[in-house]
């Protein structure tokens, strides 16, 4: 343990001096649950963490490819952590987000890492926080998190991101989804992608009217873009950079961090497999199991 801690510290020092290979190795250590205390520095707070979420297939990765280019042209250092699900059965994962980000391999100022949830969608959270902090410490001032295509209750991203983009598309039938509560209330901006398809205008209108019914207070802007054709990206980025995140979001952020940490403690408990066995045979109740794990 003590030896590993030293390794992490050596890697951190080298990574903060610009060694890319060591940064990558450090992220692997953090991903596997290693903890590291980062020295407090001014640069750490200068990073913007942008969360990009939305259902599968709406174009999140393609859009992130454009965001990378936008920031790259402004001489920013952009790091992307792209999260895909792992198989609950085998633990394996196919991480394909890079395929759609053609700017992902475009130079020294762009760093893209694919991450799998390793069977624990909640469990990745605590290591994700550490990875974001390390990237930030090493001078990556724009950090983008792409989450697993989310459902309505996927609000974990709120725990990490300073700004949240919710991406939607025209080819999803059921607009009533926009009327439901959840991530849409936490988004700083709602982006309807694939604006080259006529249905996207209708979708954007539906989302706007759904949001305006809520009294319009703090309602996020709804913008149309085409990531594929690179249209509307600059306008979208200006809105994101200018928008003020409402105060009440801070409280949700703290709460989500608490829940994330709780999840990861639960999942990393050495007792968890034994307790799942007991639950399977029915020898203990769920409540007893939880009490046992929390002890």
């Amino acid at each position: 343990m003590a030896l590993e801690l030293t390794t992490a510290k050596i890697l951190l020092k080298s990574a903060s001096n610009g060694n890319r290979r060591d940064l990558s190795k450090l992220l692997t250590l953090l991903e596997s649950g290693e903890k590291i205390n980062l020295p407090i520095s001014d640069s750490a707070s200068n990073s913007t963490v942008l969360g990009v979420t939305g259902p599968p297939g709406v174009g999140k990765s393609t859009l992130i490819g454009r965001i990378i280019n936008y920031w790259k042209e402004m001489n920013q250092k952009v790091a992307v952590l792209a999260i895909d699900p792992s198989s609950p059965r085998t633990g394996g994962a196919l991480l394909g987000d890079r395929v759609r980000m053609d700017s992902a391999d475009s130079g020294d100022s762009v760093f893209v890492r694919s991450l799998s949830t390793r069977g624990h969608p909640g469990g990745i959270s605590s290591s994700l926080m550490a990875m974001i902090n390390a990237l930030s410490y090493c001078g990556w001032n724009k950090i983008v998190i792409e989450t697993v295509g989310s459902g309505q209750n996927e609000i974990k991203i709120a725990a990490f991101a300073d700004k949240i983009i919710l991406v939607d598309g025209p080819d999803r039938g059921d607009i009533i989804q926009a009327e439901k509560a959840g991530i849409i209330e936490l988004a700083d901006i709602v982006v309807v992608n694939k604006s080259d398809m006529p249905a996207s205008i209708k979708v954007a209108d539906s989302i706007r009217s759904a949001l305006s019914l809520g009294g319009g207070m703090d309602a996020p802007e709804v913008v149309l873009v085409s990531a594929e054709r690179n249209e509307g990206i600059v306008e979208m980025m200006r809105i994101i950079e200018d928008c003020k995140t409402p105060k009440w979001r801070d409280r949700i952020k703290i709460k989500e961090r608490l829940i994330s940490l709780w999840d990861s403690r639960l999942l990393s408990s050495p007792k968890i497999n034994g307790i799942i066995d007991d639950l399977e045979t029915g020898s203990i109740s769920l409540n007893d199991a939880l009490d046992e794990l929390a002890r």
């Binding site: 290979r21 992220l27 085998t90 394996g92 991480l95 394909g96 053609d102 992902a104 391999d105 799998s116």
Partner: protein, 145 residues
């Protein structure tokens, strides 16, 4: 293992690479697929950013003769000699020795069984656990086939 599956060069056929990526996933590995037409420089950067243990390269165009040695050299030159490299696609028999001499550890041509590729990875993993290197920069010449 964390494995990068890459398509170097200009051929646009990646069904094979995708099938392999999928079966490695089902074998419990984390597979990052790069997409088509990546340059050796891009591939080596991806391996670095992903901190992959292994790199699977698929090529059908006949350009392996130029591309594979370049990728192997780039990995060694940038401190990634511990990354294991294996090949798939159309690699004529007469080129195999040359590929192995650059540090490639296995070649899987048409008709290969995915079970064999998984056993190769298992074997490589146990060698690594024993402290033996299976990386592209390893000089002892270990190969799977």
């Amino acid at each position: 293992m964390k494995i990068v599956m890459a398509k170097p060069g200009l051929d646009g056929h990646d069904r094979g690479a995708k099938v392999i990526a999928r079966s490695l996933r089902d074998g419990g590995h984390e597979v990052v697929y790069t997409g088509l037409r990546r340059t050796p420089e891009q591939i080596s950067r991806i391996v670095m950013d992903e901190d992959a243990n292994a790199l699977g390269l698929s090529t059908l165009s006949g350009a392996h003769d130029v591309l594979i040695p370049r990728i192997c050299k780039l990995l060694k030159d940038t401190g990634m000699g511990d990354v294991m490299v294996f090949l798939g696609g159309i690699i004529p028999e007469r080129d195999h020795e040359k590929m192995f001499s650059h540090g490639v550890r296995a070649i899987f041509g048409p008709g290969s069984r995915t079970e064999d590729i998984l056993s190769f990875l298992d074997d490589a993993e146990s060698r690594t656990d024993l402290g033996k290197s299976v990386g592209v920069g390893n000089e002892d010449g270990w190969r799977w086939n």
